[in-house]
Point group: C2
Chain length 530, copies 2
C-alpha cells in the first residue's frame, strides 16, 4: 500500500490501495470533493456530483435519487464532519470509470466511517454518479436530546400484568421514586431532591407489568409545542429527518418513534401529546380531563392539564388505557362532527387531506354520518383568548415564583411566554374563566353523541431551521385546533392518517365526549386506522 | 420505477430503478446472493464475491481487502440479517460492469439499511468486486451489555476542578447516592435499596469536577476475568470485534474504549482492571492496596481488593490519580525487574512481544537497566494457591450467605467458583495467610527500587465463542501473572504496548513498589508510552 497526499487526509496523507494505475485526475477530484465537504462548500459539492436524474446518494437512513434531491439535502445540512480520510481504495472499472472507497476516522473520538463513490468522466471531468456513506458510529452512550436518564430498565415492573414486556419513556414531569423531576430545565433540576413516591400513573403502569426505560425530555416546564429545548437540544423526528419533533412531550415521542420504547407517557395541556404524535406519525391520546390522576406530575395549567401517551399503534394505546382509565361510560357516537371554520385554520393541504380522509371513513362506515356545525371564528377567538389567559395565569402560579428567583434560567422562547403570563391579572383570569365555562357548556353539547374530526395540527413538522415566523404561524393555527378538547375537557386521539403536500405526516384527530377515551381507541382499532 | 420479483424482497418484490436496460443476469445474481445471505450459505456467498486480492467489503467499522479476508469474516459471523430488500438501483457502467445499490428494511423494527455492490462479469459470470454495507440502525436506547443506568449525566459534578469535562462509567459495585448497587446480578439488584451516600471515591471524583455518566456492568460479584455476564451479556470489545471484553470491570472498559466516557472506575482484586485494559488496548491502573478507600464498594476479597481505573491515555489516568491517590512517597526505580519463569506462563507470542518491547524501552533509556530474578515456578504455585485460597475464603464471607439463600441466582461459571469457595475452611485460610505474608515480604523486597515488567495477561482477548478449555487456559496463565501485585499489595499499570501474533492488543504491565502508582504513570507519560 502506498501513501498519497490529500488535504483531507490525516496530517495531509492517506494510504492508497489500487491494483494497477490510478486513473489520471481521480485523486485530485476526490480531494477537491473532500476539501469542499470539510468547508461545507455546497456549490463545489453540487458541481462534483453528476447532473441528472440517475445520480444517487445513500446512507443507512436515506436514499436520495437525482442531483436535485441530493443538492436539496446538502443545502439543509448544517453539521460538517470533522473526520479525516485514512485510506483510499481505487478500483478502476473501465476507461473513465472507477470505484473509490475511502475509510475515514475522527481523530478526536476514533469513530470510523466509510464512503464509496462511483466516479465517471463526463465531458472529460470526473463526477460522482453514485455515493454511499456510512457515517462514523456515534459513540454516545445515550441520545441526550431524547433522554435525561435511561436504564435497562430504569425501574423494573412491580408485578406481572397486561403490560408485561412493554417499556415506557416518561416525560420529565412525573415523579419517579428515587429520581428527581427535571421539567426540561437544568437549573431547576439541580435544585430538586429525589421523589419519595411514584406518581400514581407511574405506579399503575409498573403494577401492570410495564418497565420504565427512562426519563425523557420535555420542553421547559411543558410550555411549548415545538420540542426545541434550549438546554438539551431537539430530539430527532425519524418520520421527517431535519424537522422538529413537536412537544412538549418531545423526548418520549422520539423514543417511541425510534422503537426504543413501546409507550411514551406525557401530558397534554394545549396539544403536547397530539402535536408530537402528528409530527412524527404516532398514535397519541389526550385523556378526558381529570380521568387519570395528575398527582405527582409537575403542573402547567391544572384547568387543562391531562396525562396522555404516545404509541406506534392503537392497540397498545388501548392496553395502556385499560390500565390507567376508568371504564368508558358513554355509548358510540352517532354523528361525525365537522367544524369547517375551525379546520380552515389548518394549512390547505392538511385541511384537504383531513376532509378527504374523513369522507372516505364515513363512506366506509367507520365513522358515522357527517354533521356540520357552525362555530364562528369570532367565537373561537374569544374562547381561545380565554384559554390562553387562564393557561398563562395558572402557568405563572405553577412556576412564576421559581422563574422570578432565577433570571436567565429559561430559554428565550419559553421565557417570553412566561413573561407575558406574569402580566395576567387575577381579574383577567376570573373574566376568562367565565368565558371558559360557556365554551365548555357549548362544546360538550356539540360533542354529546358525536365525534369531532379535525387535523391534529395545522401542518406537518416544520424544519429545524424554519423561520420563527413560519414556526409561529404553524403554532398559532395548531393551538386553535387543539384548544377545543382542552376547553371541553374532552379526550382527543391523534391518528397518523394524513400527509402534507410534500409527504410529511400529520395527525387526524378524533375528539369525543368526556369519558369516551376508550371508544375513540376502539373506533380506531375496529376501523383498522392505526 | 418498476417492480422486480426477488425472493429477498418484501413479499417477494422490490422496486427497481435503472436508467436504460438492466444487464442480463444481474438481478438473478443479486438475488442468488441475497438468498444465500438470508440462509447464511457461506459457500455461495464466497463464490459470488470475485476471487483475488483486490476484492473489497466495507462497512462503517471494518474494511476488508481480499477474498480471503472477506471469507474469514463471513465464516465467523453468526447473526443472520432479517431485513428485506425494498428498492434496487442499478447503474450500468460499462459492458460487464454495473453498480447495484439495494435499500433494505427490517419489517419488524422498521430499521433501514443500504448495501452497494460493484458487480463485474468475470469469465461470463457476475461477481461482486466491491461491497459497502450500512447496517440497519440499532434502535436501542442504550447498550444494555455495557450499562445498567445512564444519564446525561447521571450525577452532575459537585464542584469545578481538575476533572472538569471528564465523564465516568462506574462499575456496578460502588455506592452512588440514590442508586442501588447491582453487583452484576439481577436477583441481588432487586433486593437492594438506594444508597444514602456516595462511596468516597465517587465523591472525590465529583468534587474534582467529573460527571458520572452511568453505572456499567461487572461480572457477577466481580468474581471473573472474562466479562461474560450470564444475565446482561458480554460488552463489546471495539479493539477486537467478536472477542470478549475482559472483566470484571467489563462495562466501564467498553464504555471507555468506545469513547462514551473518559474514565472507567472499577476494582482490581486479581486482575479486574488490568485484564480488560489488556484485551481492549486501554490504560489501566490497579492502585496500591489500601491507598484509595474501598469504603462504599461491594467487597470481593478485602485482602486484595483495590480501586482502579481505565482510560484511553496515561495523562488522564494521572489526572485521576492526582485526585484519588495520596502523594507518591518513593523515588524512581533503579532496576527493571524481569521474572523469566513467570512470563513464560504467557503465550509465546505475547511473552516474546513483552521481552522485545522491554528491551527497546531499556535501550531507549525509558526503563532502567534489566535485572533478572529467579522465582521458581514451585514457589509461584505455592503463593498463587494461597492467594486463591484466601480470595475464595473472603469471597464466600462477602457473598456466601446471600448466595446460599438464592440457589440458582448465579450464572454457572461464577456459581461454580463460589461453590469451591464455600469449601475453604478457616484453617486452610489461616495456613494460606501465613504463605501470603512470606510472599508479600519476598515480593516487596524484589520490588524495592525496581519496576517489574511483564505481560498484563497471558494472551489477547479470546473469541466470544472460544472453547471453555481455551478460556480456562488463558485464565490460568493470566492469574499467575496478575496475582503478583495482589500478593505484594503493589500498584500495577497496564499499557497498550503489545500485540499477539494475530494482531490483538495485549498489555505491558509495570508493577512498582507500594506507593509508586504515580511514578508508574509519570514513567509512561514521560516515555511517551500511552
Amino acid at each position: 500500500m502506498s501513501v498519497v497526499e490529500v488535504s483531507s487526509g490525516i496530517d495531509g496523507k492517506a494510504e492508497l490501495d489500487c491494483p494497477g494505475e490510478v486513473p489520471a485526475g481521480l485523486i485530485e477530484a476526490f480531494d477537491a470533493y473532500e476539501s469542499a465537504l470539510l468547508a461545507n462548500d455546497v456549490a463545489v459539492l453540487d458541481d462534483l456530483f453528476a447532473p441528472g436524474e440517475s445520480t444517487v446518494r445513500g446512507d443507512g437512513t436515506n436514499l436520495l435519487i437525482g442531483h436535485e434531491a441530493i443538492a436539496g439535502f446538502r443545502s439543509g445540512r448544517s453539521v460538517i464532519p470533522t473526520r479525516r480520510v485514512a485510506k483510499i481504495l481505487v478500483r478502476p472499472i473501465a476507461p473513465g470509470a472507477a470505484l473509490l472507497m475511502a475509510s475515514t476516522r475522527n481523530p478526536a473520538t476514533g469513530a470510523t466511517g466509510l464512503q464509496s463513490q462511483l466516479w465517471q468522466q463526463i465531458d472529460g471531468a470526473w463526477k460522482v454518479t453514485a455515493a454511499h456513506v456510512s457515517l462514523p458510529l456515534k459513540p454516545a452512550s445515550i441520545d441526550s436530546t431524547i433522554w435525561r436518564v435511561v436504564g435497562a430498565p430504569l425501574v423494573a415492573p412491580a408485578e406481572n400484568g397486561p403490560l408485561d414486556g412493554k417499556t415506557v419513556a416518561v416525560k420529565d414531569l412525573f415523579a419517579i421514586r428515587h429520581h428527581t423531576i427535571g421539567a426540561g430545565n437544568p437549573t431547576w433540576l439541580n435544585e430538586q431532591t429525589p421523589q419519595e413516591q411514584h406518581a400514581p400513573a407511574i405506579q399503575n403502569l409498573l403494577d401492570a407489568g410495564a418497565a420504565i426505560t427512562g426519563i425523557a425530555h420535555t420542553d421547559e416546564f411543558a410550555y411549548s409545542l415545538a420540542g426545541q429545548n434550549t438546554h438539551y437540544g431537539t430530539p430527532p423526528n425519524p418520520a421527517v429527518p431535519g424537522a422538529i419533533s413537536g412537544g412538549s412531550t418531545s423526548g418520549p415521542a422520539s423514543a417511541v418513534a425510534l422503537g426504543q420504547v413501546t409507550i411514551g407517557l406525557g401530558t397534554d395541556t394545549a396539544g403536547s401529546i397530539r402535536v408530537p404524535a402528528s409530527y412524527q406519525g404516532l398514535v397519541g391520546l389526550r385523556t378526558t380531563h381529570g380521568c387519570v390522576s395528575a398527582s405527582g406530575v409537575h403542573p402547567l395549567a391544572p384547568s387543562f392539564d391531562t396525562v396522555g401517551w404516545l404509541t406506534r399503534d392503537a392497540a397498545t394505546s388501548l392496553q395502556v388505557a385499560d390500565v390507567l382509565l376508568p371504564e368508558s361510560t358513554s355509548s358510540a357516537a352517532e354523528r361525525t362532527l365537522v367544524l369547517p371554520t375551525v379546520e380552515a385554520l389548518a394549512t390547505p393541504d392538511v385541511a384537504a387531506a383531513c376532509a378527504e380522509r374523513r369522507t372516505e371513513l364515513v363512506a366506509a362506515g367507520i365513522l358515522p354520518a357527517l354533521h356540520e356545525a357552525d362555530l364562528p371564528l369570532a367565537v373561537l377567538e374569544t374562547w381561545f383568548a380565554a384559554f390562553r389567559t387562564v393557561q398563562a395565569h395558572e402557568a405563572w402560579q405553577s412556576d412564576g415564583a421559581w422563574i422570578e428567583a432565577h433570571p436567565g434560567a429559561l430559554g428565550p422562547d419559553v421565557a417570553g411566554r412566561f413573561a407575558l403570563a406574569a402580566q395576567v391579572t387575577d381579574d383577567e383570569a376570573a373574566a376568562a374563566r367565565a368565558v371558559l365555562a360557556e365554551a365548555r357548556r357549548h362544546l360538550r353539547e356539540l360533542l354529546d353523541g358525536a365525534v369531532l374530526v379535525l387535523p391534529s395540527s395545522a401542518g406537518g413538522a416544520p424544519a429545524r431551521d424554519a423561520s420563527p415566523a413560519q414556526v409561529e404561524s404553524e403554532r398559532a393555527g395548531t393551538l386553535r385546533l387543539t384548544c377545543l378538547s382542552g376547553l371541553a375537557g374532552a379526550p382527543a386521539l391523534s391518528l397518523p392518517l394524513l400527509r402534507t403536500a410534500d409527504g410529511r405526516p400529520a395527525g387526524l384527530c378524533l375528539v369525543g365526549a368526556p369519558g369516551t377515551d376508550r371508544d375513540l381507541l376502539q373506533l380506531a382499532i375496529s376501523g383498522g386506522l392505526a
